[in-house]
Amino acid sequence: MASGREIRNKIKSVKNTQKITRAMEMVAASKMRKAQDRMKKARPYGEKIRNVAAHMSNASVEYRHPFLISRDSVNKIGIIVITSDKGLCGGLNTNVLRKALNEIRSWESKDQQVEACCIGNKGLGFMSRLSGVQVISQVTGLGDSPNMERLIGAVKIVLDAYTEGQLDKVYIFYNQFVNTMKQTPVMEQLLPLTDERINSKENEAKSARAPWDYIYEPEARPVIDDIMVRYIEALVYQAVTENMASEQSARMVAMKAASDNAGNLIDELTLIYNKSRQAAITKELSEIVGGAAAV
């Protein structure tokens, strides 16, 4: 049986760990609120730009943006994988990476090459270790705010590769924020833009009534290009905000579980400690009594 001091040390170290996990839980809880807030604030922009894109795709016939045209043969696939920079957030990153890995395997079996854009450290580490996946761009160390400025460059590389025909399809992987307890890893097709994605039901009804004929200033093409690029960026940005909210809530839940487990462990260890202490006392007593009887 472990000696009293050993158990006491063990209890102390578990208590310290518990302090850390509890602090992390509280930090994550407060960050989560902010992250959710940011996620909600990003929504109007996404909706508005989708409306504009929908109107535009219905209005202009003379120029169809390459993002809207789907290609017949798909040889190369681009993926944007959004993960967190830090760990200790439960199975969040593992789930999304597993989903990505499954898809990559099925693409590879069809002889389709995969190029990845990694947002977040965890995904970058994973993807760069995978053979058969080439990492073409990455963003890490975003911190707590999804910095649009830093995303632009990474997204542009993917978009350029798509426009130049180096990629035929682009998917995005991230954790969708359902609620605090639940985050689901999702895969969505980013490019080519599907009609369902642009046209929600209400939009369809609206655009059927009034087909817009825009005046473009200065010209149709650059304006449409701009809108399309911004639309994709907005989608990526939204995915990043969702993933960040998911990260914080997953971390909060994971740390809460860790703190609870530490509490249970401490209870058990305390019980063992007390038992061994009592056993030692009993032993000593019986020895004294035995000694006295012998005298």
Binding site: P44, Y45, I227
Partner: protein, 140 residues
């Protein structure tokens, strides 16, 4: 209907303005544009500058935007404001930068980038200054 339209100014980070307006002036790419209700549908890029909003029964409001897109429909006007300083060279530069990182070539050879960025920042700063001065003049 007819005398007002709905105005939304949104950026990726937040919704800046949402409400009725009688008239707005925005710094479009080809020069300032004033928009009244029932304007013909229009799509244009806007520069960094001040958007003047005349809301019904309220004082004029001036909102600074750092560029973006302006969409006009007869009853709805949407301004999609950029949060980042944009520019073709700049975007290109950012992409290059990221690419370099991805290839893990950490050579600091971005003097052109710095120049483009500084220029964009300067333009933005000038526009911001102008907005501040305007506000000061009116005694805010």
């Amino acid at each position: 209907m007819g005398t007002i339209f709905h105005l939304d100014i949104v950026s990726a980070e937040e919704s800046i303005y949402s409400g009725p307006a009688e008239f707005i002036v925005a710094p479009a790419m080809m020069g300032e544009v004033g928009i009244f209700p029932q304007h013909t549908p229009m799509l244009t890029r806007i520069k960094s500058g001040v958007v003047k909003v005349k809301a019904p029964l309220q004082d004029d409001e001036e909102i600074y935007v750092s560029g973006g897109m302006l969409e006009v429909q007869p009853d709805v006007v949407t301004i999609l404001a950029d949060t980042a300083v944009r520019g073709k060279d700049l975007d290109e530069a950012k992409a290059l930068e990221v690419k370099k990182q991805a290839e893990e070539i950490m050579k600091n050879k971005i003097s052109e980038v710095e120049y483009a960025r500084a220029q964009a920042e300067l333009i933005e700063a000038v526009a911001q200054l102008a907005a501040i001065q305007k506000l000061r003049k009116r005694g805010h």
